[in-house]
């Protein structure tokens, strides 16, 4: 009896010890993983950030906090290169794409969520099938068509492709979001004598504002992010977008201007990352809702 009593607390104690040790290692490896991953993520970002403030005779593209810091690269970017026009071009294309695509997608998404009409099922199938066709599938045709229409190097053609490419999927997401707005709201408004337009504009629309913000971000981002189409359809250097233009700083292996590239990279990445973080909470829920809804 005595023996057993002596053993019991000891074994409990060692169990507790092993649990504590187990917890320690679990926490240790968890934090180790997170810290290493954070370093891997931050390393290239910091290199680019710091290089933007180095003077032009930088020897290597590395993380080096030493040396003189300067803003001269940003000045050179706008005085000696076409970066200013590239930025403006990108804004023109992105903003037009955003405005038009958001309007078109919101209207179509609303209709598919709220109306029953002849051919609805058939046309929804059309949307799903079109959604599967990658815009790239028409790459060669875009080039030929642009040649034929004299649209090579013009923004309207490029912008139209961006808009058209984003419509199928975003309409689908928008429809999913509209579906989440209770139908009773429409019904009661209709009983109060509100017309179609009024129901849409002052009752349903205010409730989907977060999704519209997300749609706007995406529609704005896709032209900014795109390299392929812009490189394909814009031929003169002064008409380039930022993505195509920035690449000209580094694609010549003999004469890489990494400091100019880094400065230009910061100026485009910073506002977009800021917008991204601001709208993040909206689109994560939106994507998950859209994803589970198909």
């Amino acid at each position: 009896m005595e023996n057993a009593q002596a053993v019991a607390p000891k074994s409990a104690n060692s169990k507790q010890n092993s649990a504590r040790r187990h917890r320690f290692w679990k926490q240790f490896f968890t934090y180790l993983y997170m810290v290493i991953l954070a370093i891997i993520v931050m390393y290239p970002v910091l290199i680019t950030f710091i290089t933007a403030f180095k003077d032009a005779n930088v020897q290597a593209f590395v993380l080096d906090f030493g040396g003189k810091w300067t803003l001269v690269n940003f000045k050179n970017l706008f005085t000696q290169t076409l970066y200013g026009s590239w930025y403006l071009n990108t804004m023109i294309i992105s903003v037009s794409c955003m405005v038009i695509q958001v309007i078109v997608v919101t209207l179509a998404g609303y209709v598919y969520s709220r109306y029953r009409f002849a051919g609805k099922k058939f046309s929804l199938m059309f949307f799903i099938i079109i959604q599967m066709v990658p815009t790239m599938a028409a790459l060669t045709a875009y080039y030929v068509l642009a040649n034929m229409l004299n649209a090579l190097d013009h923004y309207w053609f490029l912008t139209a492709i961006y808009i058209g490419g984003g419509i199928p999927q975003n309409t689908w997401l928008m429809k999913g979001y509209f579906d989440n707005v209770p139908y009773d709201l429409d019904e009661s408004a209709k009983l109060d004598g509100a017309g179609n337009f009024k129901i849409f504009w002052s009752i349903v629309l205010p409730l989907v504002k977060p999704m519209i913000a997300v749609q706007a971000l995406w529609a704005f981002m896709s032209p900014v992010q795109d390299y392929l189409m812009a490189k394909f359809l814009l031929t003169s250097e002064s008409h380039y977008t930022v993505a195509v233009g920035l690449q000209t700083f580094i694609n010549n292996a003999q004469n890489q201007q990494v400091v100019l590239f880094s400065a230009g990279a910061i100026l485009v990445a910073f506002p977009i990352a800021a917008l991204f973080f601001y709208l993040q909470r909206f689109f994560v829920s939106g994507l998950l809702a859209g994803g589970s809804k198909g």
Partner: protein, 429 residues
């Protein structure tokens, strides 16, 4: 009210408008007849020659532009399809309205009523028209042109209007699969495309899931801080990151060779590593590209999985703990199945995205180094090969179109399977 014969109405509508007139919808009937006449007139005065030109692609060089003929022909096909859709709708409409009349439902007869019903029922059509218009002219139409182009001999030796184009049947496809020079290139490019897609996407999914599971444990402090850092690769435009990496992996001045390998050699002098030829050795370029895509792509998966994990109820885990389940058992039996059930479509779209991830391949090393023939570099995937075939000094448009078709069929096929599996087609209502 006089009963209408629905069958008869539909039969009369074999000539659009007559069935509607029979139903007493004068305005609609007249409108439909006008549409019919307009299409017939267009077909007689333009359509027939457009179709004929599409078949011959012209006979006199310098005078006939084969390319324009092909494009007008495609437009005519589209127009004809739209008319056929209208025609079928017209047949159904006549029958539907006749049945409505028989059941004493309201039917619009006058212009005013028609206008009102247009605003009411037509609201839907009116608001979706811009979407259809844009999709047809920026996706459907160009895809059709590409489809046709793949069966011609359009290349640097046949540039209209100086030269005529000809239909060559499946020659572009057969030469890709059977002609030795093209076959070698196609096999090399296609093989690497598949390896790239599978490795890069799987890597980003693994890192994404691991990070979500690890970073979601309750005891972790500074979740917000780590969350922001882990999202950075998604928040920063991909082209900026890829170009930065292209500098970082530079053979002589990049951070990996100069700083990381330098640091390793200082810390672990007995395991000395020589600088790696990231940009001039195909194997190392491929290795770097896959790693970088892991960096770029994991945050998206991480965010999605985090959302899913937070939706799994805690009692599920508590019940499992009470039953004596180990950590690994809980992960294998609860966490993973839930993730795959919800996120499978997200994973598949990631695979199809990387299959066509032009930016990653082209911005890192322009598809190089090396050469596998027919303009393709050692790390070119199909989409960047198409780009080079189209924009190179001796463009091969028809071959590019053929490769494009192959890509599209693959991507659409995979998407169709996924859509079927996720029952998206049943979401019709």
């Amino acid at each position: 009210m006089q009963k209408k014969d629905a069958k008869k109405a539909q039969r009369l509508s074999i000539i659009p408008g007559l069935g509607q007139l029979y139903n007493g919808q004068t305005i609609k009937g007249v409108l439909f007849i006008i549409i019919l006449l307009a299409f017939v007139a267009e077909f007689i005065f333009g359509g027939i020659s457009a179709f004929a030109n599409l078949v011959t692609l012209g006979s006199v060089s310098m005078e006939d532009n084969s390319l324009f003929m092909m494009i007008y022909g495609t437009l005519q096909i589209l127009l004809t399809i739209i008319f056929i859709v209208f025609y079928v709708a017209n047949l159904y409409d006549a029958k539907r309205v006749a049945n409505l009349i028989n059941n004493d439902k309201k039917v619009s007869h006058t212009f005013k009523e028609l206008g009102a019903s247009m605003v009411d029922g037509g609201f839907a059509y009116l608001l979706t028209t811009p979407a259809y218009f844009l999709m047809i002219f920026t996706i459907v139409f160009p895809v059709l042109v590409t489809l046709l182009m793949a069966f011609t001999n359009y290349d640097f030796a046949h540039i209209p209007p100086a030269m005529l184009l000809d239909w060559v049947g499946f020659k572009n496809f057969t030469s890709m699969f059977f002609l030795s020079s093209y076959r070698a290139t196609f096999n090399a490019v296609f093989g690497w495309t598949v390896i790239w897609t599978v490795c890069a996407t799987t890597l980003q999914i693994i890192i994404g899931i691991a990070t979500a599971v690890i970073a979601n444990q309750n005891f972790i402090k500074g979740k917000r801080f780590f969350g922001v850092i882990f999202l950075l690769p998604w928040a920063i435009p991909a082209f900026v990151s890829i170009m930065s990496f292209s500098n970082i992996f530079n053979d002589s001045a990049g951070a990996i060779n100069v700083q990381v390998i330098g640091l390793w050699n200082t810390l672990v002098p007995f395991a000395h590593i020589a600088p790696i030829h990231w940009m001039t050795d195909t194997f190392w370029t491929k290795f770097a590209i896959i790693m970088i895509q892991g960096w770029l792509g994991f945050p998206y998966i991480y965010v999605m999985i985090t959302g899913i994990l937070q939706a799994i109820p805690d009692d599920l885990y508590e019940a499992a703990t009470l039953d004596g389940a180990t950590v690994m058992q809980k992960f294998n039996k609860i966490t993973l199945p839930t993730i795959f059930a919800i996120a499978a479509p997200i994973f598949v779209t990631q695979y199809t995205f990387n299959f066509n991830n032009f930016s990653m391949i082209y911005l890192f090393n322009q598809g190089g180094p090396g050469d596998v023939g027919a303009n393709a570099g050692g790390t070119d995937i199909l989409i960047s090969w198409i780009y080079k075939l189209t924009t190179g000094t001796s463009p091969q448009y028809s071959l590019a179109a053929a490769v494009t078709l192959i890509i599209s069929v693959l991507v659409i096929g995979i998407s169709l399977i996924v859509f079927k599996k996720t029952h998206a087609f049943e979401m019709g209502d």
